[in-house]
């Protein structure tokens, strides 16, 4: 990927940023079953495709507008899977997640990302399991309120 970006008017730092962004996109698409890889090669090829698309977007942006496109391939974006409405909603949830209190952020991250069970969380927090469950639901409700308020 780094070589591709460097060969197309970019540098290593830009390649790094593109890779990170593309990785998150692929991760989301796999999570939402928009893309189901059947082999590791399949996965790598898809990741590279997303990286290329993102770099093409950069090249088409303002900062590169004065430059002339000579590479035909740069004018052709590969097809990848997106759902604009879903992606917008996910970005909105991520945005409002930052507005939650530290306790909620920690609890939700432990449960959804670290995959800790409610029992494990209750032990770490010194709560009963029922309290942990209820707190998790209240944090989700708070997050939904923030999003709904923003959508109105």
């Amino acid at each position: 990927m780094e070589r591709y970006v460097k060969e197309n008017r970019g540098n290593a730092v830009q390649a790094e940023d593109i890779y990170q962004e593309a990785f998150l996109t692929v991760w989301r698409n796999v999570q939402l079953e928009r893309f189901s890889p059947e082999s590791q090669a399949d996965f790598s090829a898809y990741l590279f495709r997303v990286c290329k698309n993102k770099w093409i977007d950069v090249l088409r942006s303002k900062s590169f507008k004065s430059e002339l496109f000579t590479d035909k391939e740069l004018n052709r974006k590969a097809e990848t899977e997106y759902d604009e409405e879903e992606d917008r909603l996910i970005d909105l949830i991520k945005l409002h997640f930052d507005e939650l209190g530290d306790s909620c952020k920690d609890l939700l991250s432990k449960f959804y990302y670290s995959k800790m069970s409610m029992r494990e969380i209750s032990e770490v927090k010194g709560w009963s399991e029922a309290t942990a469950r209820n707190s998790k639901y209240r944090c989700i409700q708070r997050l939904r309120e923030l999003i709904n308020r923003d959508s109105q």
Binding site: E16, L24, W27, V30, Q31, E38, F43, I93, Y112, N148
Partner: protein, 246 residues
């Protein structure tokens, strides 16, 4: 986001379904409801998107930490080294994520033996504890830890007791079971072998079964077959047939 109310019970049920933890009969009626109830379908979609967003946010935070941590490490590490590390970690994360989320690909990374181990292994259930006040107290206390999934704590207690009861089939059997439950198959082997020195032991058959599974997980298939065949586990014929078919 559409302003639909999802009760705590509904949220729990949807999460159980999405994580595959709903019993088959409930999962079937759940799917039926998804197909026929538009509001329910929307609730499921909201829960799924919220879960994905929270996970993604946490992953993003971790990636940022890697990025910042390495960039400021030292004047000698430089941007290039930081980039190499970041790329390596991202590639590793990519493979791990891929591995975790795609059951199809699990087959590409796990050996046949490990797959069979996962398929047949069920942790030893443990004994009923009376919590008496005699010398059995420490053993019973360990059993409570074991049943709560605190295998390390249980083994710490039992290993202490083992110092004075080296040949106890009960202690050796449960310490071996604890290690196996922790995913430390290699460490469980010797303990199960001590149990097998006493044919009359109440744990003789189960020790054969778990020792066989431990060896299978370690890739020592030939040895594993011997112990599995010597057990009386109800699954043994099926597992032996699967091993034979490999």
């Amino acid at each position: 986001m559409k302003n639909i109310h999802i009760t705590e019970e509904e949220y729990q049920e949807i999460e159980d379904f999405l994580s595959g933890n709903l019993p088959p009969e409930k999962a079937e009626s759940f799917t039926h409801r998804v197909d026929n109830d538009q509001e329910w379908r929307e609730k499921v979609r909201m829960v799924k998107l919220t879960t994905t967003a929270i996970r993604e946010k946490a992953l993003e935070g971790e990636l940022k930490q890697i990025h910042l941590g390495n960039s400021s490490k030292s004047v000698f590490s430089g941007r290039k080294k930081s980039r190499v590390i970041l790329f390596t970690l991202l590639a590793a994360a990519a493979i791990i994520t891929f591995f975790l989320v795609s059951p199809i690909v699990t087959h590409l990374f796990i050996s046949d033996n490990e797959r069979l181990f996962s398929q047949y292994y069920q942790p030893e259930a443990g004994l009923i504890t009376a919590m008496g006040v005699s010398e059995t107290y420490e053993f019973d206390r360990g059993m409570i830890d074991y049943k709560m999934g605190k295998y390390e704590e249980a083994n710490r207690r039992w290993l202490e007791l083992l110092k004075d009861h080296k040949n106890s089939d009960t202690l050796n059997y449960f310490i071996g079971s604890g290690y196996l439950a922790m995913g430390k198959a290699a460490q469980s082997v010797d303990f199960f072998k001590v149990v097998l020195q006493t044919k009359e032991s109440a744990f003789y058959n189960d020790a054969n079964w778990y020792l066989g599974l431990a060896l299978l997980d370690m890739g020592r298939k030939e040895e594993a077959v011997q112990y599995i065949a010597a057990s009386d586990n109800e699954q043994k014929e099926k597992l032996l047939a699967d091993l034979h078919a490999q």
